[in-house]
Point group: C2
Chain length 596, copies 2
């Protein structure tokens, strides 16, 4: 057992054992930076991980905590084979969730180290969870996620950690933070953790999400789980599942199975009911709510071929009817279409049990409906004008009926999210979309005037402004040469600086939070990790803490968090030479750049 | 056993068996495009793979062949468990290479299908290799890589393929092409291949490479092997290994081991002698020559700390002395430095047995040498002026002595590659760098006037113009916010259109070829596949075939090749929705784009 500390610490708490593997290098903490120096005595070399834990702000926690944090800069060896997570009380759904979260906690700590060469020894760790509510295990929208965490060494030698929270989801966040206070020391070949910590923490925004599109390209359940795993590790809490689109229908509708049979790319590229259940359960353990979107009336197509309810499907040239191939919109004039829609809602409600739902509603093209003679005829027959006003009226008919069918199946009102669109323009907004029902997700730029309009009219909003949160931006084009429409690539610094509070000004209480979006026209299993991570973690800290400081203050911890994600088998993209990580503070500049 | 054909084919050769898994969809060939249509009879549905093999230009070969190609549009079931690759003659190094290549051929075909659900049956395949030279197995620079390939069905029912080539490397290319004529039919659950093919093929440029930097971030041997695997599959033939740089020294120098001990990021982030041997051997089997670079006098640093031969190492602010942290250049005034250099050359020569070598030579900064008093004093003492002319003279002293030491160890002259730099400017070029010795690798833009100067003066050149071939471009910055220096991201279309022949004009005989470069400041194992692939395959076709046609004609085959790389466990990036692959010709536009 050993207890190490920064070279700067008092010699009195400097108990260092012989180490197995010697190192040419050691790290010392200077002004908050870990510097790489020649190890004077190889036996007392400090690993980068150990130095960072003691030297970095907030003990390297990501996202940084919002409440009080106190810790001693000293480490103690942990026996990874002797960790217990305890919670008093009967067997309840919550207790089963705690048990799964405890398993994950132990597994993720185990993943920090190579399998071989672990030095035996170290202290036992006992984690006591104290939950005020232990009844329902439901992931409720806007629930309490706060926790407090305490670590100390008991007189009997064991490390004791107490986590207090309102519910499982707060406690889980506490476990997440605790796991980040444990490192694998690659010089000593042993686990180390801080031995004295007090922390109180909770998020600023309740809605901290990632949108994943699984229709432009199919994303395997393994990839979805990896995404959710990293979300849990970053304290993101909403997995917004854009599950279908014009290109494919991988969702298995129990009530209208032909949609899947015709609409899936291949028979194996579907999400079975069991897949969906597993993903929801996987999310729960990680504090992640799965929020389904059924996007309509645009963004439909494949799967609906036989229904007769499709307008302008795969019509060419696509540029006339939609933004990307293939085009497709539901025909709002046909009553039977709403019956199918209701079946889909029914299936989704049964499976996701949603207390909030996403109805999409973006990029409805007048040109599409206008191109179908039977729609135009119906409109004329029913005194709808064949201009924008008429088409907006038609769209309103759709949205009104869709909401009715959804609410009928749900049995009660829940908040409905819609994307910004023509319908959310100032001239239509209040007329068609009551702010008691609708939350608006913003995908235009962060400086779009519509944001102010929404907020002034009392709408709750979610930011996904494409200039900071569309993670598909910046690659090549797929319909022409050159680069894709929202280029350039968005660096993590821009994600970090994208502040809902700053954008909302005095209306920040109406900002529910934000979502990073990965539209998958140009990603699939091969790239989804690197597109999302670690950038989504920059969003995580922005939303958890809404820090007044800038990315520069966060950079050091951010790079540590990226390494963490790699340990959890998430192929988070690399952002800098390893040299910068080993020579903290030596790479960033203040804007003066040479061109090579 | 079954023989299928396009729906368009004559019914007389249409022998279709009952299929195990039925499909809602089938594909038909229309004007060279495979269109997705409803399967009228599920039993006779044609898979996308089968359609593409018969419908696409060049039977989906990538890169496209340069000689005559003839094939019948009919497929025959292959028994994947009965494949023999035969070559007459004694056991020689070449025969052992053939044996390894045969193993790989069978393994890669095996990887095309899922492990379960393969329908038994099919014909045996016998591949006869006819090599004119079977003596040395050395990968010689600029060797003959041509081959001819014949496939036919013997009267005894076996499929016979004859491959004729000058040497192993040509024959291997034949095997590669043959493997691309075999598909996994996911409707029939069986392997299919073209049953009658004649093909003659060979590359336009001898130098078709990828540069991988393993110093800014360490790249594991597994990732390097994956890169080489995909190179083989794309008929690229030069793996340019930028093995060391200022940031780290992962190469294990037998003669100067302290360079590695001090210079590696961690003790495990090194390439042992065995690693290097394995990579070289792995390359050989795949027709890939490993070309080492030891970059000097700039781009050194870590590892050299104790020698006293380093100038401006990690000097701050780095912007004054180099292009990125940490700075570092060898001190050309110290004789002992050349002795160390010679040791490194000796080690590399022993291991790589190079018939061509890369000495780097880029981004030498006057400001770095100028900042060291002892260098300035030496220059004054030796009548070197302290201006550009003087520093160029010093650089020339370095290059002259470095070449002398290298040649001494090699024992004979070999071509030396240098990067474009101040030294390759018109005013210095002919004076300091004889064109009989030096090949110049161009990293400036494709429109740089220096290219013309080099060619007019008779220099052989290799293109790595950053505006089309630097695959690290387009991501976030790592020394500031915003995007990295050579943004935007380079789409595959631009890579494909980057023609050495067009750039060289009447001097195209001096173009040895090109290399795509991945500098790894912002990539490591997590992202190296997606940064390089499939874009490097676009370069592969450009260099193999120098086609007069554009990327539009290649797109369809390119997307098939990307799927192929995925089968070989290479995480090649996704470029378009799967919908486009299933609806060929429906996505590309002629430049008319809507903004969503």
């Amino acid at each position: 057992m050993s207890r190490i500390c920064l070279l700067l610490c008092l010699a009195s708490i400097f108990l260092v054992q012989q180490v197995a593997s010697s190192s040419e290098w050691s790290y010392i903490c200077q002004k908050g930076n870990c510097l790489k120096v020649r190890a004077e005595q190889k036996e007392s070399a400090i690993s980068l991980g150990a130095c960072r834990l003691m030297c970095s702000s907030y003990a390297s926690l990501w996202p940084k905590p919002t409440g009080k944090m106190e810790f001693k800069k000293s480490l103690i060896q942990l026996n990874v084979n002797s960790i217990d997570v305890l919670m008093p009380g009967e067997d309840t759904p919550v207790k089963r969730l705690v048990s799964a979260a405890a398993q994950r906690f132990k597994k993720n700590i185990d993943l920090l180290a190579p399998e071989n060469g672990r030095k035996p020894g170290g202290r036992s760790l006992v984690v006591n969870l104290h939950l005020k509510k232990t009844g329902s295990d439901k992931v409720v929208y806007q629930q309490d996620e706060t926790y407090s965490l305490n670590v100390s060494v008991h007189t009997d030698g064991r490390i004791i950690s107490d986590i207090e929270a309102e519910n499982f989801y707060g406690a889980r966040n506490g476990l997440e933070s605790l796991s980040q206070l444990i490192i694998w020391d690659d010089i000593r070949s042993e686990y180390q953790m801080l031995d004295s910590v007090y922390l109180k923490d909770g998020p600023v925004y309740p809605h901290r999400g990632i949108l994943l599109d699984t229709a432009r390209n199919f994303i395997s359940t393994d990839s979805i789980k990896r995404t959710i795993e990293a979300m849990g590790a970053s304290k993101l809490n909403i997995f917004h599942w854009h599950i279908t689109d014009s290109q494919s229908f991988p969702y298995t509708s129990k009530s209208a199975p032909y949609l899947t049979k015709l609409g899936a790319y291949t028979p194996s590229k579907v999400y079975s009911s069991q897949d969906v259940d597993e993903i929801i359960a996987f999310g729960k353990v990680r504090g992640v709510k799965v929020l389904p979107e059924f996007d309509a009336p645009a963004h439909v197509g494949e799967g609906w071929q036989d229904t007769g309810y499709l307008a302008c499907f795969d019509k060419k040239p696509w540029q006339k009817y939609c933004v990307e191939p293939p085009c497709g919109q539901l025909d709002p004039t046909q009553d039977g279409m709403y019956d199918v829609l209701e079946l889909i809602y029914k299936d989704m409600i049964e499976q996701f049990d949603p207390d909030i739902f996403h109805m999409g509603g973006d990029e409805v093209h007048e040109g599409c409906w206008d191109s179908e003679r039977k729609i135009a005829e119906w409109m004329t027959d029913n005194n709808y004008t064949l201009n924008e006003a008429g088409f907006i009226k038609l769209w309103d008919k759709f949205q009104r009926e869709a909401l009715k069918r959804f609410t009928k199946q749900r049995g009660y009102d829940v908040p409905i999210i819609l994307w910004t669109s023509t319908l959310t323009d100032e001239k239509y907004l209040m007329k068609y979309l009551p702010n008691s029902t609708y939350i608006i997700q913003i995908w235009t730029t962060g400086s779009d005037k519509q944001i102010r309009v929404l907020l002034e009219n009392g709408y709750r909003t979610i930011l996904s402004n494409y200039d900071a949160l569309y993670f598909d931006c910046g690659f090549g084009s797929w319909v022409a040469d050159g680069n894709n429409w929202c280029s350039p690539y968005i660096g993590w610094q821009k994600v970090y600086e994208n502040s809902p509070a700053k954008i909302a000004g005095k209306y920040s209480h109406l900002m529910m939070g934000a979502e990073a979006a990965l539209w998958t026209e140009q990603s699939d299993d091969a790239s989804v990790d690197g597109r999302i991570w670690p950038r989504a973690a920059a969003l995580a800290e922005r939303l958890w803490a809404e820090p007044k400081s800038t990315w520069k203050d966060a950079e050091d911890r951010f790079m540590i968090h990226r390494e963490r994600l790699l340990k959890f088998k998430v192929n988070a993209d690399s952002l800098q030479p390893e040299w910068c990580r080993q020579h903290q503070g030596s790479c960033s500049t203040d804007g003066i750049l040479n061109m090579p």
